[in-house]
């Protein structure tokens, strides 16, 4: 016959093991819930400024269109920095694993220059263009998403020029023309066409 104190000891140990298992299971779920998704956004200096609502035009490969997405991001008072933060927020969406329009990892907007009257120059890093998926619509969605997001949130932008690594480039990845200036009104027309598409 097993001594009573031994039975009690075994029962306590089993209860402790069960309690520990339940605790570990609960903690595991909580960690999975709070674990941030891998953020491959480039390192940027911290931005100070109040949170402001912005409108992002996000490309969607599934529908081949741009959809409007609201967001709230900290925006500095400087117009140029605001523009850079806007596109960084947009790129944050594209660099996420669940992105509807994936861009190459480490894609980055190096700088944006606002030149009056009405010109914005977007300087992308080389990876952005070198590893971008090729295709007329693929490339056009990327370019128009950048331009439309900028124009929708920074008043007064009429024309946009896109550089890669500070230099002019013939096209983004073999199709979308980067040698010319983009007319914001023409981009607007494309966005309307794309959104109207089935």
């Amino acid at each position: 016959m097993i001594p009573r104190h031994l039975l009690i000891g075994i029962a306590l140990m089993l209860a402790a093991a069960l309690a520990m298992s339940a605790y570990v299971w609960r903690m595991r779920g909580r960690v999975a819930a709070v674990e941030p998704t891998a953020d491959t956004r480039p390192l940027a200096p911290p931005v100070s400024g109040p949170m402001e609502p912005v409108t992002l035009y996000v490309a969607d490969d599934e529908t081949g269109s741009l959809h409007v997405q609201g967001a709230s991001i900290p925006l500095p008072s400087d117009r140029q920095q605001r523009a850079e933060e806007l596109l960084r927020a947009l790129l944050g969406i594209y660099l996420d694993k669940a992105s509807p329009h994936a861009l190459p990892p480490a894609s980055e907007v190096r700088a944006i220059y606002l030149v009056d009257p009405g010109l914005a120059v977007i300087d992308l890093n080389a990876v952005f263009a070198d590893a971008h998926r090729s295709g007329v619509l693929q490339e056009e969605l990327t370019v128009t998403s950048l331009i439309q997001t900028l124009a929708a949130n920074i008043p007064g932008i009429l024309r946009v020029k896109i550089l890669v690594d500070g230099k002019e480039r013939a096209s983004l990845a073999g199709h979308a023309d980067l040698s010319n200036f983009y007319d914001v009104a023409a981009v607007n027309g494309f966005v309307a066409q794309a959104q109207a598409a089935p």
Partner: protein, 499 residues
């Protein structure tokens, strides 16, 4: 005077230097600063097998040619390698091999093989001499093996593509070359000859390397192979052009008719006399860079083209990688040929702007298209995403304002946008009628904005619910080409006659 000459040690030292020494020094130093000659061509080994055709870099060690064995075997089956000190062990399928750094003997299974030169192990990468492939490869590959070491072309199995060449003595004479498998060579013309270079195709030599035809216009064709490539050179006393048929199995070479010279790439067009430049018109037939391309006009009384069909990309520019094997440039070329035939069948005269694996710059494409004074330009593209067909008209850039009779090159399309939209709409209606998914969009896609006629780009996507490999399906391509041709033929009256 004399005292001035003798003052100071430097002058004294200079006198001690022999007079010829500066010249010797200059001769020693000068070659380092002279511009280098053309870089030596990279050595390549081409491998043709049933599993894949591929090309590998050949490196030189101690005056001998070497190739990476792992890279050579990788496309042929499962292979792995590991290095252990001076030993390099490789496993291909179930066969084990062992090589030792700087040793000419290797163990393949239980057999000792003489490599003919020492094995080289560099950073874990095993290099074997090319001379060893003949004794080594029969252990890996079943079937016949044919290795032309001088030309660095390796045939594994019965994979060779044979060809025949037959000259029909007509006016003009035509040389018809039939191949046992589809080919897609790079074609270039030079004064007195047309060269076809086969980069990937296992084209093998005919019974005699030089074929003679007893004709003054096309007297002979010569087959040669070197550095992993095969080349057929057709000699001629007239300008030649090549056209493809029979799904790439037939190449017909004939004299260039005057009105098809525009289809030749720049290096050929540059040889066309300046007298053939088109007459100046109100539109910008040429890009801002002067004299980049010379193209013929369409003389009065000769056939005018209604449509110009432009297969995008080509040559080194492969476009979108639609699948591991299928490149956009190949789909667009096949589609261009089909569309051309379908248009001609409907009585719509058309010109294929790129009818070989050559590449044209966007300015050249626009220049050539504008010079034909056709009523419609159709640029062809392909993509793996989405389904059906996307039609694009030009999204004109900002700032390209036309000023009086002077038309900005980047906005040359502006006057023709309504026609382009009408053409796209007509073609879209025809596609919808055939229940092919279609979208009409604007796009910042050159050279649409440089074309002085109705211009649209067609992006072909896979059929609904199908894989991108279906873009290469002859049935699908034929359906789209026929539908596009129907759409163009229906719009013929609205777009007007060739200008």
């Amino acid at each position: 005077m004399t005292s001035a000459v003798q003052i100071g040690p430097p002058r004294y030292a200079l006198r001690a230097v022999p007079g010829y020494l500066p010249i010797v020094l200059i001769l020693l130093v000068l070659p380092r600063h002279l511009p280098a000659g053309p870089a030596a061509e990279e050595k390549r080994l081409s491998v043709y097998a049933a599993a894949a055709d591929y090309s590998l870099a050949v490196s030189e060690r101690n005056g001998r040619d070497y190739v990476g064995l792992l890279e050579l075997l990788e496309p042929l089956g499962p292979v792995s390698a590991r290095s252990d000190g001076l030993h390099w062990r490789l496993r291909f399928k179930a066969l084990e091999m062992e090589f030792i750094q700087a040793k000419s003997q290797a163990k393949v299974g239980r057999q000792e093989i003489d490599l003919g030169a020492p094995f080289v192990l560099e950073n874990g990468r095993g290099l074997v001499p090319l001379t060893s492939l003949n004794p080594l490869l029969p252990h890996f590959v079943a079937g016949p093996l044919n290795f032309n070491e001088a030309a660095r072309r390796l045939f594994l199995g019965n994979v060779g593509t044979h060809f025949t060449a037959q000259l029909s003595h007509g006016t003009p004479p035509r040389l018809v070359m039939n191949f046992t498998a589809p080919v897609n060579p790079t074609i270039a013309t030079e004064p007195g000859r047309l060269r076809m270079v086969f980069h990937r195709e296992p084209v093998v030599a005919p019974s005699t390397p030089t074929l003679t035809f007893n004709d003054t216009a096309i007297p002979s064709a010569t087959f040669a192979e070197s550095n992993g490539l095969a080349e057929i050179t057709v000699t001629s006393s007239v300008s030649l052009m090549a056209s493809f048929g029979n799904d790439g199995r037939t190449i017909t070479i004939s004299a260039v008719p005057q009105q098809t010279m525009a289809a030749q790439p720049k290096r050929e067009a540059e040889q066309i006399p300046a007298a053939t430049l088109p007459p100046s018109g109100t539109g910008p037939a040429l890009p801002p860079a002067p004299g980049s391309t010379a193209v013929p006009a369409t003389p009065a009384g000769q056939r005018g083209y209604f449509a110009v069909v432009d297969a995008s990309h080509g040559g080194e520019d492969r476009g979108v990688a639609l699948t591991g094997q299928l490149a956009e440039k190949d789909v667009t070329l096949a589609m261009a040929r089909r569309l051309h035939l379908e248009l001609e069948a409907r009585g719509v005269p058309s010109l294929v702007l790129r009818d070989s694996d050559a590449n044209l710059t966007l300015d050249q494409r626009a220049t050539l298209a504008n010079a034909t004074h056709a009523a419609l330009y159709i640029g062809l593209h392909a993509a793996s995403d989405g389904s059906g067909v996307r039609l694009y008209t030009a999204m004109l850039p900002a700032g390209g304002d036309n000023n009086g009779p002077f038309v900005a090159w980047d906005a040359a399309q502006s006057r023709f946008v309504p026609l382009s939209v009408a053409a796209a709409s007509g073609v879209a209606s025809e596609l919808e009628r055939k229940q092919i998914p279609v979208r009409v969009l604007t796009a910042p896609l050159r050279p649409l904005n440089n074309i002085t006629a109705a211009a649209l780009a067609v992006e072909l996507a896979p059929p609904p619910g199908s894989a991108p490999s279906q873009l290469n399906s002859p049935v699908y391509q034929q359906l789209i080409a026929a539908t596009l041709a129907n759409g163009v033929a229906a719009m013929r009256d609205k777009l007007g006659a060739p200008r």
